[in-house]
């Protein structure tokens, strides 16, 4: 469904990604593990068109190259990113933030039903439809950011550290929402520090180290890996 071939990204002299090849299958959850600075966020940003890869690599979405597309065209094509730090429209209400999410042409039909669906998925948002985004707590903002991305009816949802700054209870709430989404057939690419939860949710794992794919496999294989146990599970 989505395939990155030989993708390299550099910020000035610093190479953030080096010859990365990744395959993302439909209706699956792919988790990307790695230390801070390994290039995980860069990978997501590259897919979303916010960062340009160096020449030589390709990103194919449904067999169409998208590595030179503008970010809004990529959203329109069906890839939505929930960036780190949420990036909500602070002065807009919950409902308005969600409506903005449905901006792409493809997502406008059925906007209202989808809005209701998000509010069912995140009951906390339903209680606060008219509240301004900036006055909400960190956890609520994170929920809103995910809901907003879902409003574009994405074929693939890219999540950058969604559990960051959430209380333990909200983290498990978040992962149960994600689980419900995957059960509904949503494809997800997940970047997370919470390796324990990611391994439970994901169908396939990639490990990034200093911008390179260091290993890949199923969660079961990963759990056996001594290095993964030590570095990401803290065992």
């Amino acid at each position: 469904m989505l395939r990155l071939e030989h993708i390299s990204v550099a910020y000035g002299k610093h190479e953030a990604l080096h010859d990365v090849t990744v395959d993302i299958a439909p209706s699956r959850t792919t988790a990307i593990l790695g230390a801070n600075g390994a290039g995980k966020s860069t990978l997501l940003k590259t897919i979303a068109g916010l960062v340009r890869p160096l020449p030589g690599g390709r990103i194919l979405f449904d067999d169409r190259p998208i590595e030179r597309e503008a970010p809004h065209r990529i959203v329109a094509a069906g890839i939505a990113l929930v960036p780190e730090g949420r990036r909500l429209f602070g002065e807009m209400s919950v409902t308005d933030n969600l409506r903005i999410g449905a901006y792409p042409e493809r997502a406008r039909a059925g906007e209202s039903e989808r809005l209701e669906r998000q509010l069912t998925l995140f009951p906390r948002l339903a209680e606060r439809r008219q509240q301004l985004a900036k006055t909400m707590s960190g956890g609520e903002q994170q929920m809103l950011a995910i809901a907003r991305a879902l409003m574009s009816e994405p074929k693939i949802l890219l999540l950058d550290e969604p559990s960051l700054g959430l209380s333990p209870r909200l983290v498990s709430d978040l992962f149960s929402v994600l689980r419900r989404l995957t059960e509904g057939g949503q494809s997800i690419v997940l970047v997370e520090q919470n390796a324990y939860q990611s391994l439970k949710l994901a169908d396939h794992i990639y490990v990034l180290e200093s911008g390179r794919i260091a290993s890949a496999g199923t969660p079961a294989e990963m759990r056996q890996d001594k290095m993964i146990q030590k570095a990401y599970l803290g065992l």
Partner: protein, 617 residues
């Protein structure tokens, strides 16, 4: 190397000034009057950029201040001698801008622009009204006759003072403070900068220069009327010149002014009838191709040449160690080093309470981490804060034991960050009291709280994006509880960067850092203010187990050095490892307090906060 180029620049300035000063001897009357226009524009755009460059407050009030200077001289020259008139112009310009600044510098963005534009209009209308209704004629005559060579020389002096002065300011604490305010005013306040005072002061200094230029410039005219005195073209011309040259480099606006006057002259000659159209097209082209102005491009080119030369040299002589490319920031700091002795320590504008707090007393005694001592560093009592109908903090009371690490935990939205904002003076509480070592600190402003030795990090990191890692940290040292000169701050900043593991990224710009590195910068910046109480807002979020361990060790080490810590955190592992005392909040209220083991096994806490997973763990 940097030293040599500085000396060269100094020498070049003196020689250029001397040549320009001697020029009128051989110049035609036309040449002299051209010089006058050049120098007036250089002085005005440099003065404009002194304030608006770093702070990004776009002012269209230049004409208002120029006009104030013109009218001051026009009114006063009848009865006073010229030197007194000019001094008066500078003083009136300063106080006029000071009052205007106090009332308007809280406006941001387009509101400030419109206000300053309106100010010029208002001044013009008022002076017209006065001249028509009170003096009964619109024109005011300038009866004193000053040789144009004298005007030329005076404006040359003002232009040189403006350029050298704004270069000097950029190397001082004041210059750093201005830049920090432009980058993120909230962070600047929390680093101990009295942002209001700094903004108003520099705005008034710049205006004073503008009035002085106006006061001299008016001597060319036989008479003035309000459209000359308060003509908007001054405001726009100066703005365009500064943007053209590069408003964030001390010498950028001067280059811009020279180019702009040259360009206007050329276009008037070449397309006399279509002059304004041609000028407009030129601006569009310039802004499109060099949005940051010309000066940064020239420095880039110079840097490239220097690197090329260096590469050539090191290729021919392998034994020469490769020095890093000269970087403007570093050189500024080296200049600071030479001046260290004369930079005064500013301790003014301190709240009397805080002056007591900031007096450098004995360092806190290092305490045993095992049991927190009974005395409180900070006590919160009956605190309440509501946002509209939503009560974020409700009747909250707790103590932070001195020398210990206190954890503040609770569900998202329970009011933890609001508590930090109340403690740091970011928000005023509706009720209650906050006592820092016996002193009530409610109503004390953020920058004074910082100088009172409470430092914080932000949940959504706020590194100043346009400043280097090192400059970010220096800021804390220069304006914190024990302010120092830029040079001293530089030395300590490097030690702090080493400590948080950023030594190799000191020169990176804030926006180039990864999320985690930005958090490290925030911690280093907070420590640089020399706090006795450090407030961490989810500083450990987003770390993997290895990084978390390093982070936990770092916080423990900070506590061992005698700094009391209050940490808002969701990472239970860290709470268990570090906190001797934990306060749990839910819906703005305290629902539990005690040791980590006590509160984490409390059924109330389990229910609202931990969920079943972590309670079992």
């Amino acid at each position: 190397m940097a030293d040599r180029s500085k000396r060269l620049a100094f020498l070049a300035t003196i020689i250029a000034t001397a040549i320009l000063a001697a020029l009128p001897l051989g110049l035609s009357a036309y040449g002299v009057s051209t010089g006058i226009v050049y120098f007036a524009n250089i002085a005005l755009s440099t003065a404009w950029a002194l304030f608006s460059g770093p702070t990004r407050y776009i002012s269209l009030a230049t004409a208002a201040f120029v006009g104030v200077g013109m009218y001051t001289v026009a009114f006063a020259h009848v009865s006073l001698n010229l030197a007194v008139c000019l001094a008066l112009a500078a003083i009136i310009g300063f106080f006029f801008a000071f009052v205007v600044g106090l009332s308007t510098l809280r406006l941001r963005g387009v509101y400030f622009v419109i206000f300053t534009f309106g100010l010029t209009e208002l001044m013009r209308q008022m002076s017209s009204w006065y001249e028509i209704n009170i003096t009964n004629k619109l024109n005011r005559f300038i009866t004193i006759s000053v040789d144009s060579i004298v005007i030329y020389e005076m404006l040359l002096v003002l232009a040189v003072i403006a350029v050298v002065g704004s270069w000097y300011v950029s190397t001082t604490r004041l210059g750093h403070a201005l830049r920090a305010i432009g980058e993120d005013e909230t962070v600047a306040r929390h680093a101990g900068i009295n942002a209001t005072w700094v903004k108003v002061l520099v705005f008034a200094i710049a205006a004073s220069m503008m009035s002085l230029v106006g006061g001299v410039y008016v001597l060319r005219y036989p008479s003035i009327d309000p459209t000359v005195g308060f003509g908007n073209s001054w405001s726009f011309q100066v703005l365009i010149a500064a943007l053209l040259g590069g408003p964030r480099k001390p010498w950028g606006p001067a280059i811009g002014a020279v180019l702009l006057v040259m360009l206007s002259d050329f276009l008037v000659g070449a397309f006399s009838r279509y002059f304004t159209i041609a000028l407009g097209v030129c601006f569009v082209v310039i802004v499109y191709f060099i949005p940051g102005g010309i000066a940064p491009r020239i420095e880039q080119l110079y840097g490239m040449l220097a690197r090329l030369r260096q590469a050539g040299r090191s290729a021919s002589d392998a034994s020469t160690p490769q020095a890093p490319p000269t970087e403007p920031v570093a050189t500024d700091n080296e200049m600071g080093a030479q001046r260290r002795a004369v930079v005064p320590r500013r301790r003014s504008a301190l709240h009397p309470l805080m002056r007591r707090l900031t007096r450098s007393g004995p360092r806190l005694v290092v305490r045993d981490s095992a049991g927190p001592p009974p005395d409180a560093m900070l006590s919160v009592y009956g605190l309440r804060k509501a946002f509209g109908g939503l009560v974020a903090v409700r009747d909250l009371s707790f103590d932070i034991p001195a020398g210990g690490i206190t954890g503040l935990i609770g569900p998202n939205g329970s009011g933890k960050t609001t508590v930090l904002n109340l403690i740091t003076g970011e928000l005023p509480p509706d009720a209650g009291s906050i006592v820092l070592q016996g002193d009530e600190i409610i109503g004390v402003r953020s920058f004074e709280i910082c100088r009172g030795r409470i430092a914080r990090t932000f949940q959504l990191v706020r590194v100043l994006p346009g400043m280097t890692t090192r400059e970010n940290v220096m800021l804390g040292r220069m304006f914190g509880s024990d302010p120092t000169s830029p040079a001293a701050a530089l030395r300590e900043a490097d030690a702090l960067l080493e400590r948080v593991g950023l030594a190799d990224r000191a020169q990176l710009i804030g926006s180039q850092l990864t999320y985690i590195d930005q958090k490290r910068v925030e911690l280093a910046r907070a420590l640089a203010t020399r706090p006795q109480l450090l407030l961490l807002d989810e500083w450990l979020a987003g770390l993997n187990p290895t990084e978390l361990k390093i982070g936990i060790d770092l916080i423990r080490q900070i506590q061992r050095e005698g700094i009391t810590v209050l940490m808002v955190e969701h990472v239970m592992e860290a709470i268990r490892a570090l906190c001797g005392h934990v306060v749990v909040m839910n819906a703005g209220m305290k629902i539990a307090e005690g040791t980590a083991a006590e509160v984490l096994s409390d059924p109330k806490v389990t229910q609202v906060y931990l969920g079943e997973d972590d309670a079992a763990a």
